[in-house]
């Protein structure tokens, strides 16, 4: 088990090495969504989505409430299946395989695709146990390896210095912003390839929000990040590409500069200039 884990680590690293130099020329696609449709019972939640998400970028998904942006994000790790009566059609190709195919187990998918939620949701356990949760469920028992993962993940989430002396304290003793960075660290501990963030700063104060935003900038060097946000300034600040969703459709998807400065669609312009939403 331990060996497997180490191998996987090295594979991921070589991948980065291989793609980085050529990144400016042609970025690799992480997720290729083709004709994705999704229904909640009779409600057509996502309509014919076609979207390519690129490696080592921050992709922001914006749009008014109920436009399907969170639904789309949760489809990317099939968390949407927790809602009963959800049906999907179409394909989402992730690293050459269709994740919507029943043969792709959700457990495997979610090991590669981590998620950070809207409300900080650490477990009511110690900080250490929170971070070690993911590695443990994947079978890592060696205390030394766990220690290293915990430190590396907490450093990765820029919270190591704040918590290193109280790893055995309950994570609920931390502030909301710290809790959210613990959740990000917990997500890093499974060494994912992609990180999905569902409005990760909507429950945080401005200073904590700033810290998380800086962290996202830092993390995109090693991970591909897809972030759903209500906050358009945030999308403009931190993302490389932005997709604008409206009533279950992608209205426009382009480089963030283009979306915010010269949007092609009138509805995008109306939304980003605050005329609705």
């Amino acid at each position: 088990m331990v060996l497997d884990f180490k191998q996987e680590k090295s594979v991921v690293k070589t991948n980065h090495m291989a793609t980085k130099p050529s990144a400016d020329v042609a970025k690799k696609v992480v997720y290729d969504t083709r004709n994705l449709n999704l229904w909640y019972g009779d409600h057509h939640g996502l309509k014919d989505i076609n979207l390519s998400i690129y490696e080592n970028e921050v992709t922001a998904i914006i749009g008014p409430s109920g436009c399907g942006k969170s639904t789309y994000l949760k489809t990317l790790n099939r968390m949407v299946e927790l809602v009963p009566s959800v049906r999907t059609s179409g394909e989402i190709i992730y690293r050459e395989r269709n994740i919507l195919d029943k043969s792709y187990t959700v457990e495997e998918l979610r090991t590669r695709v981590g998620m950070v939620f809207q409300k900080p949701n650490p477990f009511p356990k110690s900080i250490y146990d929170n971070i070690a949760y993911g590695p443990r469920i994947h079978g890592i028992k060696n205390k030394k390896i766990l220690d290293e993962i915990v430190e590396k993940s907490l450093r990765g989430a820029a919270i190591w210095d704040e918590v290193k002396d109280r790893l055995n304290q309950n994570a609920y003793g931390l502030s909301g912003g710290q809790q959210q960075r613990i959740c990000i660290a917990r997500c890093l501990a499974i060494e994912p390839d992609v990180i999905l963030m569902d409005e990760p700063t909507s429950a945080l104060d401005p200073i904590s929000t700033l810290k998380v935003e800086e962290l996202v900038q830092e993390l995109k060097k090693d991970y591909s990040i897809i972030i759903v946000t209500h906050n358009m300034q945030q999308a403009a600040r931190i993302s490389d590409r932005t997709a604008f969703f409206l009533s279950g459709e992608v209205v426009e998807y382009d480089k963030t500069d283009v979306i915010f400065q010269t949007p092609a669609d009138q509805r995008t312009e109306d939304y980003i200039s605050g005329r609705f939403g």
């Binding site: 927790l82 959700v106 998620m115 939620f117 949701n121 650490p122 477990f123 009511p124 993911g134 609920y172």
Partner: protein
């Protein structure tokens, strides 16, 4: 012009505040009623039974003579009964609750099952006694044993434990499950590492309260026909036994005045056991409750 007239508002003010006070007093009275009843009951039992509550009373077997009568067989019998009821009802109850809350799909059949478990909690205990008599005592041939009575009692409190465990499991925020699933955990891992640790205080509290109901329950034991006068302790699951409420019931229905006092002493023992169990439940709830 203003729609709200200040003089009218001020006139009504005193009236509204008085009404509030009257309601408060009524609700307080309702609470007092229960407390006073309990106090009267306790006072009567304590004054009646305290003289008979001696070490001998705890270590003697039942007797024809009131001053030699003891509760040993019944006390040990009740403990044996609990030794069967606790594991059977908690394992089956928590298992059912986990299935219903975590695995079962939300469909009509499962809604029907859920509804009926709640209904089952309201079935009179004597009906469970008849069921136990038919199935465990007669069909399975277990006789009037600890096992037969224990299984009957387990059936009786199973619905209560299931409902309590369901509520405890449902009280675990969904965000907690999502966090676990989001890292690739299976349902089972999520249940073991996230849901159960958070739900266990609630489950245990509910289970202990259900067990204390079982320890005071008489009707099913009467129907099964377990003896009231035993001069030996049970020596195994298939052994005969008697239980605290049976023994108290037997003493209370005797014509001699002294036995009323013996019965009161027996009630004191039973209530001590109940209070002990309930305090354990409260202790567990306060000590291990997780706050999100």
């Amino acid at each position: 012009m203003r729609y709200i007239d200040d003089t009218v508002v001020m006139k009504r003010m005193t009236k509204r505040i008085t009404f509030n006070k009257i309601w408060k007093a009524l609700f307080f009275l309702a609470t007092t009623f229960a407390l006073v009843t309990l106090a009267v009951l306790l006072y009567r039992i304590v004054t009646q039974g305290v003289d008979y509550l001696t070490i001998d009373f705890l270590t003697n077997f039942a007797s024809r003579f009131a001053d030699k009568a003891g509760i040993k067989a019944a006390l040990v019998g009740s403990l044996w009964l609990m030794a069967v009821v606790a594991p059977v009802s908690i394992i089956l109850g928590v298992g059912t609750a986990i299935y219903l809350e975590e695995y079962a799909k939300k469909n009509k059949l499962n809604d029907f099952i859920r509804l009926n478990i709640s209904n089952l909690a309201g079935v009179p205990s004597i009906v469970f006694g008849l069921l136990g008599l038919t199935i465990f005592v007669r069909m399975m041939g277990l006789g009037k044993s600890v096992l037969a009575a224990g299984l009957t009692m387990s059936l009786l409190i199973l619905p209560v434990i299931i409902v309590a465990a369901q509520e405890a499991i449902r009280a675990v925020p969904n965000e907690q499950r999502e966090a676990s699933y989001g890292m690739g955990a299976t349902k089972w891992q999520t249940i073991v590492h996230v849901v159960l640790p958070a739900a266990i205080p609630g489950i245990l509290t509910g289970s202990i309260l259900a067990l204390s109901r079982a320890i005071g329950e008489t009707a099913p034991l009467v129907v099964i026909g377990i003896p009231v006068i035993l001069q030996f302790l049970p020596n195994g699951l298939l052994s005969q036994f008697t239980a605290l409420p049976m023994q108290i019931y037997d003493w209370a229905k005797r014509p001699q005045e002294e036995f009323q006092h013996v019965a009161a002493a027996g009630i004191l023992v039973l209530m001590t056991v109940l209070l002990l169990m309930n305090s354990i439940a409260i202790f567990i709830r306060n000590k291990f409750q997780k706050r999100y």
